[in-house]
């Protein structure tokens, strides 16, 4: 019996990982259960997925100690703390979960795998495939499921998006490979990085707020001078933030008006 708890920000794909795992286990004639647990939000807010895979019948879909725990975002850390026991393997995104948040679990976590999924995905597969890297790392712990079942499950899950199927399978393989190679690990999250938030020249300053921005890019679409583009830096949800070419900016303020999150502030000097 393996009890797997997956915790992410709504929209990060925590439920997709769980669906694929449960579907693959079912196809492999194992007993399995999957139950999602999230708030009223469609996106945003911590989203939990409880998965169990077993040879014997499963009595109840939830549990209070996880064998494998996946932490995909900062806000999940305090939510999942109570599910960590002596034998829990904690998998976390060392390139995204911030270090000061992670240190809350110092001493509680006995074994862990730090997978820099955001970094790997951003470099090789695109940010949308981040969750598939985690699927690979979790699969390393449930090898009783034949790999071709996972592959079939990925195909079924993304049947409507054939362009994602191959990419996602490659990301899954990369995650599995990373977990198998067991590189040197440290219980460390992302160090606080100085993200550039203020862009200014002598006439105006354009400020972005990573703690509010949700990466919808309405600002870029609205900009009459195409001065705003999708940047490399990530916001609190882990999606890409806009950045401005201050030379091109005419300080019209359209970006500030259209931002649903109040994440852009433009000031004329």
């Amino acid at each position: 019996m393996k009890k797997i708890l997956i915790a992410g920000e709504g929209g990060q794909g925590a439920q997709s990982i769980a669906e694929i795992l449960a579907l693959a286990a079912h196809k492999a004639d194992l007993k399995t259960s999957y139950i999602p647990n999230f708030g009223v939000e469609q996106r945003g807010g911590v989203s939990l997925a409880f998965v169990q895979i077993s040879n014997d019948p499963i009595n109840y879909p939830k549990f209070d100690r996880a064998d494998i725990l996946l932490i995909m975002c900062n806000r999940a850390v305090s939510v999942v703390k109570e599910f960590i026991g002596e034998n829990t393997l904690v998998i976390f995104d060392g390139s995204f979960v911030s270090d000061d948040k992670l240190q809350e679990l110092q001493g509680v976590v006995k074994s862990y795998l730090s997978l820099p999924a955001k970094n790997i995905a951003q470099e090789k597969f695109g940010l949308k495939s981040t969750n598939m890297l985690f699927l690979g790392a979790i699969y390393h712990e449930v090898l009783e499921i034949p790999k071709e079942m996972i592959s079939t499950a990925i195909n079924e899950k993304f049947a409507a998006y054939p362009e994602f199927q191959q990419n996602n399978k490659k990301a899954f393989e990369a995650g599995l490979q990373y977990a198998t190679s067991k590189p040197d690990q440290q219980f460390k999250g992302r160090q606080k990085q100085e993200v550039k938030t203020v862009y200014e020249d002598d006439q105006k300053s354009w400020e972005r707020f990573p703690q509010y921005c949700k990466g919808c890019m309405l600002c870029a679409v609205r900009c009459p001078k195409n001065a705003i583009t999708m940047g490399k830096d990530l916001n609190f949800l882990g999606t890409q933030m806009p950045e401005v070419d201050i030379e091109k900016c005419i300080a019209c303020g359209k970006c500030m008006e259209i931002c649903p999150d109040g994440a852009i502030k433009l000031e004329k000097h």
Binding site: R43, Y212, G215, V221, D261, K265
Partner: protein, 244 residues
């Protein structure tokens, strides 16, 4: 101009709406309208069930979270008990045109002195994008996978136009889009002033993007709003006349 309205509760940020949500944008504009009219201490905000409930802690004004479709009657009751408050009922197309349609129509008939703001995003968003009364003809939703057919589901509802036919002379009806900041702010302010001056029922429908259920990116969302404008004409559909 500030990036956030003064009447928003900073401690509740980031708010709970999805990335690129037009409803959050409409609420930001409502916040600025409240700021500019300086009614933060007199306004009472009533939200409905559906995505609109995600705004339950958004404003630093007195807030009521009502039952589904019951934002209108709750605010009517409040206004009758305490006529000095400025009652704002905020709902989606499900709350206003489906389960709460009777309340909306009767409140308009009684010419209650409240302001109703209704978000039209052409689907039931919180439950996953099912067909709503406002779904466009031929628009695909999870319950109309082949598109909304007039023969089976009728035509999309035109709320402000419908209410205008039964409204009292002092009532105010308008429709705007959440991506048009200035116009929307002006219409919301007009609707609030109409209530403050005691002229009559005020109603603003805001066309709003729902990128998650429409499965659109930023540009496609704006394009879809353009498409919606063909079905739902914008403007002040009924302006209030002086009540004799």
């Amino acid at each position: 101009m500030e990036n956030l309205p003064k009447s928003w509760k900073k401690s509740a940020l980031p708010h709970k709406f999805c990335s690129g949500c037009g409803q959050a944008l409409a609420l930001k504009i409502l916040g600025f309208a409240i700021d500019e009219l300086n009614i933060q201490d007199k306004a009472v905000y009533g939200s409905d069930i559906g995505c609109s409930l995600l705004s339950w802690n958004m404003f630093d004004v007195d807030t009521v979270q009502t039952h589904h479709g019951r934002a209108t009657p709750t605010m009517v009751g409040l206004k009758r008990a305490k006529p000095e408050v400025i009652a704002i009922a905020f709902m989606g197309d499900g709350g206003g045109y489906a389960i709460g349609a009777q309340h909306l129509i009767n409140s308009c008939l009684r010419d209650d002195k409240i302001t109703v703001i209704l978000i039209n995003n052409a689907n039931y968003a919180m439950t996953g994008g099912q067909m709503a009364p406002t779904t466009l003809v031929d628009e695909k939703t999870t319950t109309t996978p082949a598109g909304r057919k007039i023969s089976e589901f009728g035509r999309p509802i035109h709320g402000p136009e419908m209410l205008a036919t039964i409204a009292a002379p002092g009532a105010y009806m308008a429709r705007c889009t959440s991506d048009d900041f200035e116009t929307t702010k002006n219409y919301i302010k007009n609707a609030l002033v109409n209530q403050i001056e005691g002229k009559g029922f005020s109603f603003v429908e805001i066309l709003s993007m729902c990128p998650v259920n429409w499965k659109t990116n930023a540009q496609q969302s704006i394009d879809f709003i353009e498409e919606m404008k063909k079905t739902f004409p914008l403007g002040e559909i009924k302006v209030s006349k002086d009540v004799v």
